[in-house]
């Protein structure tokens, strides 16, 4: 079956095309001048420039982390361009003003903004390279006090909020890539749900990396005040390039008393070709602070792309009775490497966390779950349940589980379950003997395997995720 299995992942990257839009690209290299340039280009206030410079000073003193189970050539940070914006200077008031070439790109990706937004009731804050081009539904949301815009815009329109929260969950010196992001981030989303407001629709952002060799340093900040609720969707895709592109995003979530933030991601960035050439390096820091009592932060991710994924969406459960959740499906194929998982830091009393991680490896890929559950001395009555399952397709791939459990309170209860299974020749034969071919069989097994995570996704994302997995693993069993 190994021959049969090898054919499944070899579907060419569907979204591999480059849009020809003139880009305003900063010279390659990183130093204080680069940072000043970014800050000037974005017309930023002094405090933000200082934030960036401080982060840069931190970064200079830090070492690239080496503990993850991934291998790649050392990144030359001086060979990266840190700013790239489509050359359309004036602000866009409506979709009609958007560059038609850009609109065509979205259509190729299957993201016709207006239709999608209208049909699905989703406000799409589209990020094209580093500058937000259009924001829909913003006014409607504004009526109920929700702020949903690019973070650069928020810096100007709501500086007090950005200043109050930026860097409070992921401090500038938190880790190597977070420090880098804090120094050079160009744009991202900002979302503020005021007290008592339940956001009436899923908020959605489509990211897309476009200019070759331009690093992507997105910065997202979501704040839910007391009793507020929001569901945020992040979907990603990128054009096909041979040189690796670094993506080092930072996402910060803050949930106050009784607030609820659900953050869902479907990631399908270019993973490199079948020989492991090219692809995105996805080194992301995502962290949510469940600050208030009874608050809840939930991460759901479907990671299918990128040459390397290095990502641990985490929850700091500070408020008493707060809840953290992490539901993840990570698929690796060919020579992809994923080291992903979560951290659940229990600080408040009776805090609860759930981790459900499903890793699927095919081809020559490496797929690792790495997770930390920490129960602080203050976290009386804390509970955690973790389940980490791995599914292997073929004989050349590997799956690892690295759970770290630190319990400093006797009343806490921590459970960890793990399993590894393999799509076997006998399973496929059984399906075939009932008239079901290999591809359908694999898709059925995988969807069954991922069911617990897919159930957590908003409806339209669940369908997309199911299709994406089928596409990703097509030909790897057969």
């Amino acid at each position: 079956m190994s021959a049969a299995i090898q054919n499944i992942v070899n579907q060419p990257y569907k979204h591999g095309f480059v849009t020809e839009i003139e880009s305003d690209v900063a010279p390659k290299g990183l130093n204080e001048d680069t940072i000043r340039l970014i800050s000037t280009k974005k017309n930023e206030p002094e405090w933000l420039l200082n934030f960036r410079l401080k982060a840069y000073q931190h970064w200079l003193k830090m070492e690239e982390p080496k503990w993850s189970n991934v291998k790649y050539q050392k990144i030359d940070f001086q060979a990266i361009s840190y700013y790239s914006a489509p050359k359309s200077k004036k602000k866009l008031a409506s979709m009609d003003e958007v560059d038609p070439e850009l609109l065509r790109t979205f259509e190729k990706l299957g993201v016709p903004m207006q239709e999608r937004a209208a049909l699905a009731g989703v406000a799409v804050d589209v990020i094209f390279d580093s500058v937000s081009v259009a924001t829909t539904y913003k006014e409607k949301l504004a009526e109920i006090g929700i702020i949903f815009c690019s973070i650069s815009e928020a810096v100007h329109t709501h500086p007090e909020l950005v200043k109050q929260y930026l860097g409070t969950v992921v401090p500038i010196g938190d880790n190597y890539y977070a420090a880098l992001n804090s120094a050079v981030f160009t744009d991202g989303s900002f979302c503020f749900i005021p007290k008592g407001v339940k956001c009436p629709m899923d908020l959605s952002t489509y990211f897309r990396i476009n200019t070759q060799d331009s690093g992507q340093f997105e910065r997202t900040l979501i704040i839910a005040e007391e009793e507020a609720t929001v569901s945020y969707l992040e979907g990603c895709t990128a054009p096909k390039f041979d040189t690796n592109q670094l993506h080092a995003a930072v996402v910060e979530l803050i949930a106050h008393d009784n607030a609820n933030i659900k953050y869902s991601t479907v990631q399908n960035w270019y993973a490199g070709d079948e020989n492991g050439v090219g692809g995105i390096y996805n080194f992301v820091t995502k962290r949510g602070l469940a600050k208030g009592k009874n608050s809840r932060i939930s991460w759901t991710q479907v990671e299918t792309g990128s040459a390397i994924t290095w990502k641990y969406p985490s929850c700091v459960l500070q408020g008493d009775n707060s809840v953290g959740e992490f539901y993840s499906v990570a698929v690796t194929n060919n020579y992809q490497q994923a080291d992903t998982g979560t951290k659940m830091i229990h600080i408040g009393k009776n805090t609860r966390s759930t981790i459900v991680s499903k890793g699927i490896s095919a081809g020559h890929s490496t797929n690792s779950y790495r997770g930390l559950v920490r129960i602080a001395p203050t976290a009386a009555g804390a509970r955690n349940f973790s389940q980490c399952d791995s599914l292997l397709i073929g004989n050349q791939c590997s799956a690892n589980t690295f759970p770290y459990i630190q319990v400093r309170n006797n009343s806490a209860k921590v459970e960890h379950e793990a399993s590894t299974s393999k799509i076997g020749e006998n399973q496929l034969f059984y399906f075939a003997q009932r008239g079901i071919g290999n591809e359908e069989a694999v898709s059925m097994i995988i969807n069954g395997f991922c069911k617990d995570v897919f159930q957590q996704l908003p409806m339209e994302f669940a369908v997309e995720a199911t299709n994406l997995l089928g596409l990703k693993l097509e030909g790897s069993v057969g």
Partner: protein, 262 residues
């Protein structure tokens, strides 16, 4: 039942097969016509299960000689799933567990593949639910099996009933039941045998692979074949099984290869 004017469903001539370079089947001849029930008996390692898996197209075996014609077509031109859709059914000796895939989903997909093949409408989940519950009564199966993962944590007997349930749904032309009686208590043997008997008709045929006579008390074969060292060494009517039971397999050892129904 033997009918004089029946069509030949399966014609095996001089079939040889190897696994990992070791020859397991060494020249099998067998002809099965519609309406007939054949029993293949023999000791462990005589090649009975291999024969079944080779017919169904398991990739672990290599065909090194001979021909098999199924419903007038060269069987080896068909992929395993095409053989299944053409009406060949293998009841597994050890049914495979498929964690995470609900039994009803699996059964419906398999059923709809057969429906498409027969140019009939596929059934939606509600329509299928009615049908499958009806079939489950035949085998005295609890409907809660529908929601469980395919064969996962099923007892030996439950797995075998699930196999016969699939046979009932797929309505195959040729059902090869590989030691369906093993691991079943006497009540379960009766229920399963009763199910198989109700499914047998003029247009289909059954090959029962078994160690023991007891299954044949309930499903009466038209022909009994004894396999040894990868060949059929003796063939006869239903009384042959009783003789085997009385005398043991040593009784046929050293017999010359035989063919039946040619």
């Amino acid at each position: 039942m033997i009918y004089q004017d029946s069509k030949t469903l399966l014609k095996v001539r001089g079939l040889y097969a190897t696994a990992k370079g070791i020859e397991i089947l060494k020249g099998i001849n067998l002809t099965v016509k519609s309406g007939e029930v054949h029993a293949i008996m023999g000791t462990n390692g005589s090649g009975k299960s291999t024969f079944a898996k080779v017919l169904a197209g398991h990739a672990a075996y290599e065909i090194t000689g001979g021909t098999v014609v199924f419903k007038g077509k060269n069987l080896f031109d068909l992929a395993p799933e095409e053989r299944a859709r053409a009406g060949m059914f293998l009841g597994f000796q050890y049914p495979i567990e498929i964690p995470g895939v609900a039994n009803n989903q699996f059964l419906r997909l398999a059923y709809n593949k057969a429906q498409v093949q027969r140019n009939k409408d596929e059934l939606d989940p509600l329509e299928f639910d009615d049908l499958v519950r009806e079939k489950m009564k035949l085998l005295k199966m609890d409907p809660e099996f529908l929601d469980r993962s395919v064969n996962e944590d099923f007892s030996g007997g439950e797995k075998k009933r699930n196999e016969i349930l699939q046979m009932a749904l797929l309505d195959p032309r040729l059902a090869i039941l590989d030691e369906t009686d093993s691991g079943l208590d006497i009540d379960a043997v009766r229920i399963v045998a009763n199910g198989v008997n109700q499914l047998a008709n003029r247009d289909n045929a059954i090959i029962l692979i078994t160690h023991y006579q007891r299954m044949l008390n309930y499903i009466v074969p038209d022909y009994v074949h004894v396999m040894e060292s990868g060949r059929i060494v003796k063939s006869g009517g239903k009384e042959l099984a009783l003789e085997l039971e009385a005398h043991g397999y040593d009784w046929v050892s050293g017999e010359q290869p035989a063919t039946v129904g040619t």
